[in-house]
Amino acid sequence: MDLIIGHYNYWLVIIIMMAGFYTVISRGNLIKKIVGLNIFQVSVFILYISIGNVKDGAVPIIEKGVTLYSNPLPHVLILTAIVVGVATTALGLALVIRIKEAYGTIEEDEIHNQDQSL
């Protein structure tokens, strides 16, 4: 029982990760794929933030009387990863706009059919 409740954040990570990953693979809509990709990345953010938690540790700001702090490094790392995620999403959405202009659709199978019929 402790394996499930004690590590509930990790279970959450796995569920979100699989949900996102499944969306990327199974959906044919290009926007939905990017949404899936985002959910997938967010799960990794939660994973990193969970790693940084130190049991009974305080917020990592120097203060009198506090000796045990949470590890701030994973949080900093994940700030970088969030920026990368935003850039990826922006670029992906820009590509979807261009695809919509070129093909008139954002459904993967319709795009595939158009390329095949040429």
Partner: protein, 499 residues
């Protein structure tokens, strides 16, 4: 003074150039600056390799923060060699870019194109030189994001879908990689690669470490297009602008192979790998990949796509060396990384010269052009011979070492597969030669963008960089001091126990 900061300057110079280029007006200026920068970086990479060629290691502390807390740039023979490949290819691709980009990319995007190119260049150099595994991820994303943008600039609309497909698969790969890095950090509390390699041995039995290893391997297998995770590559190489195809084909996958080498041998260590099924798995995937992708290449109707499938097969040869895991195998991998960059660079440049004249890379539009473009045709023949692995070309050297490594470990099946792969390469290279030389010229001009009969030899600006690489292919087929010599030095660092 400058010499002390050489390791960082190689990465920072193109990084700082990129925003300047983006702000410049379109014209010759962005091209001139980026070419000069690439030459400067190439010169610095040469100096760097000379500095470390005796086997010593340069450790550069970023901002003066001592490792393992600060980010460390750690340069030894292995990554100095890869940095030399990346900068060398950039230094010959950019002169080629002037004409090719003028034709393939709209005028108003030129300065942005070169800015994105410089960012991609920065990212690839950063991946090779950094000694910090999270920093590696950041550079990986810099190079990936800029290459998605570069690929999408292709003329046909399929370039957009190819770029989108690469974006999805590349991001999944990179995310897998950071999951692995996160798990490693959770277990060891460090991100510095040297520090990791010291702390990992006592944790070898731990399941989290095995999971982390699996995530990192799958993530980078996606990035380097290891069969069967190669699906993004053929489309991306076919529809990207010629210059982008040349640059990515010759550098991006090579850098990913370098990361594999670094992670497998420097971070985890060969004893760990031998306990996991990873090495056998690599060998099986490579063997299947080499054969299947070479067959696929034979049946292509587009010259760039043919070479792209051949690239996936060649990546199989590189990973085969890692799978074998002996000193000879890793030597073969490093030498093939170098040689394949030369041969694929030369071949894509020659095909690019034809695309420049004809406006299409489809084989039926190229028939008979060999007689009208003799220099381009000769470049394709020599590059093709090198791809097959004919003695006297660079390709022979790497295949020779790979076969020696396979024989040493008595993997007879692999020897057969390498030879069979070379025979298949003969077929697909012959297909190019046949179309270019023995098919009659397409006189009617039906379905062709321009009438073939009036096509002349490509301009010198395209031929000179092509021939620089072609001559390098022949030169490194005879003089193996730089390639094999450096690779053997590198193996001493990567596999200290074996020697």
């Amino acid at each position: 003074m400058i010499e002390n900061h050489l390791s960082l300057l190689i990465v920072v110079l193109p990084l700082l150039t990129a925003p300047i280029l983006a702000a410049l007006p379109n014209g010759r200026m962005p091209w001139t600056i980026s070419t000069l920068v690439s030459w400067a970086v190439f010169a610095m990479a040469c100096m760097q390799l000379i500095n470390v060629s005796t086997g010593n290691v340069i450790s550069y502390e970023l901002g003066g923060w001592a490792p393992p807390w600060g980010i460390e740039y750690r340069i030894d023979v292995v990554n100095a060699l890869v940095a030399l490949i990346v900068s060398g290819i950039a230094a010959v691709t950019l002169p080629y870019a002037l004409k090719s980009v003028e034709k393939e990319i709209p005028q108003h995007q030129h300065s942005l194109f070169y800015a994105a190119f410089m960012l991609c260049f920065t990212g690839l150099l950063g991946i090779t030189l950094t000694g910090d595994i999270f920093n590696l991820f950041v550079f990986l994303e810099i190079s990936s994001l800029s290459s998605y943008a570069l690929i999408s600039l292709g003329k046909k609309r399929q370039a957009l879908t190819a770029s989108y497909q690469y974006l999805i698969m590349g991001t999944i790969g990179a995310t897998f990689f950071i999951i692995g890095v996160g798990l490693l950090y959770a277990m060891t509390g460090t991100l510095n690669m040297m520090d990791l390699s010291q702390r990992l041995p006592e944790l070898y039995e731990h399941r989290t470490i095995h999971t982390a290893f699996a995530f990192i391997m799958v993530g980078f297998a996606l990035k380097l297009a290891l069969f069967p995770l190669h699906l993004w590559l053929p489309n991306a190489y076919t529809y990207a602008p010629t210059v982008v195809t040349i640059f990515l084909a010759a550098t991006a996958t090579k850098v990913a192979v370098y990361v594999m080498l670094r992670v497998v041998f420097s971070v985890f260590g060969i004893t760990f790998i031998e306990d996991t099924p990873a090495d056998e798995l690599f060998m099986i995937l490579c063997v299947v990949g080499i054969l299947m992708m070479s067959f696929y290449a034979i049946y292509q109707h587009d010259s760039k796509r043919l070479l792209a499938y051949s690239s996936v097969a060649q990546i199989g040869y590189m990973m085969l060396g890692i799978g074998i895991g002996s000193a000879l195998g890793v030597t073969a991998t490093l030498v093939h990384v170098f040689n394949h960059a030369l041969m694929k660079g030369a071949l894509f440049m020659a095909i690019g010269a034809i695309v420049y004249q004809v406006g299409s890379s489809r084989l039926e539009h190229m028939s008979g052009l060999g007689k009208q473009m003799p220099w381009t045709f000769a470049a394709i023949v020599i590059g093709g011979l090198s791809l097959i692995g004919v003695p006297g070309t660079a390709g022979f050297i790497s295949k020779w070492y790979l076969i020696l490594a396979a024989i040493e470990k008595q993997h007879w099946l692999i020897v057969v597969v390498i030879l069979a792969g070379s025979l298949l390469a003969v077929i697909y290279v012959w297909k190019l030669v046949e179309v270019l030389y023995f098919k009659p010229v397409n006189e009617t001009g039906q379905n062709t963008p321009s009438q073939n009969i009036s096509i002349k030899e490509a301009p010198l600006m395209l031929l000179i960089p092509t021939w620089v690489l072609v001559i390098a292919n022949v030169y490194f087929g005879f003089n193996t001091e730089l390639t094999v010599g450096t690779a053997e030095q590198a193996v001493k660092l990567l596999l200290p126990d074996v020697n």
